[in-house]
Amino acid sequence: MSSLFLPLLGGALIGVSASLLLLLNGRIAGISGIAGGLFGAASGDRGWRLSFLAGMLGGGLLLRFGWPGALGAPHVSGPGWLVAAGLLVGVGTRLGNGCTSGHGVCGISRGSRRSLVATLTFMAAAILTVFVVRHVLGGAT
């Protein structure tokens, strides 16, 4: 039961957060867009971005001390994989203008065709990557 309830509840909270950010600030809750905008031109636009990310860290701390099992850790064989994956995620989300939240949640919710294509693409790429790593190369990264 809880295996179905918690993901739905977590998703609903994400939906409420995205709705509040749009209703109050007029902004789209795409995490890569919020973070990537820190490096953009408009410096007057950085405050709310830093505040949102600080809030995420605060939420992470609440989880860490309130429900320790919620925060896992990556299992990789070496730091090279973390650097490679981080760079791919950083460059890819900027080039593609969004990630799981911006395209997958906000974009799909408003019926954006662009976001639907992006979501299907990154899901397919991620599934293929896991398939190759686990079932072709036969291990973990």
């Binding site: 179905l4 918690l6 993901p7 509840l9 998703g11 909270l13 994400i14 939906g15 995205a18 749009l22 209703l23 600030n25 007029g26 902004r27 809750a29 995490i31 490096f39 505040s51 949102f52 809030g55 860290l57 605060g58 939420g59 989880l63 860490r64 429900w67 919620a70 925060l71 850790a73 990556p74 990789v76 994989w81 973390l82 490679a84 994956a85 981080g86 760079l87 995620v89 950083g90 460059v91 890819g92 900027r94 080039l95 593609g96 203008n97 990630c99 799981t100 906000c106 919710s109 954006s112 662009r114 693409t121 990154f122 790429a125 991620a126 293929l128 398939f131 686990r134 079932h135 990264t141």
Partner: protein
């Protein structure tokens, strides 16, 4: 000031949603992506919950001429499906599948203080920064 507070609150809610939903456990994310192995489909419910809630709120929010605390809604910058979108989403998907972190869960998991997540987020921000340099160099050259 109010926009900073609201953004921070949304960040907290977003992180809690990710944590409750299971998105901050890379092992669970990889199991969700491992459709040929011991597939764990439960994370699909996170997206379902988020899109369901956000889509309903959007119907109301979209009727407003402006957000509560800001002069206007930020509009998504582009509308067409192009090569950048698909290539970027594909690169992001590969990175996501290698480690199991997308941007939101990675920021949230910084609260663990773990070296691996720090390395991932550092590389991700470096990737975003590099992409910013590259696009600006291309625009001016």
């Amino acid at each position: 000031m109010k926009t900073l507070l609201s953004a921070g609150l949304c960040g907290v809610l977003f992180a809690l949603g990710l944590g409750l939903g299971g998105m901050t456990q890379p092992e669970k994310v990889l199991a969700f992506l491992d459709v040929a192995g011991r597939w764990d489909p439960s994370l699909a419910l996170v997206m379902l919950g988020a899109v369901g809630v956000h889509a309903v709120f959007l119907l109301r929010i979209r009727r407003r001429p402006a957000p509560v605390l800001a002069p206007r809604f930020a509009a998504p910058s582009q509308s067409k499906v192009d090569l950048s979108l698909v290539a970027g989403a594909a690169l992001f998907g590969v990175g996501w599948g290698l480690v199991g972190y997308c941007p939101g869960p990675a920021f949230t998991s910084l609260a663990t203080g773990g070296r691996d997540v720090l390395l991932f987020v550092g590389s991700m921000l470096a990737g975003m920064l590099l992409f910013g340099f590259w696009t600006r160099a291309r625009a001016s050259g």
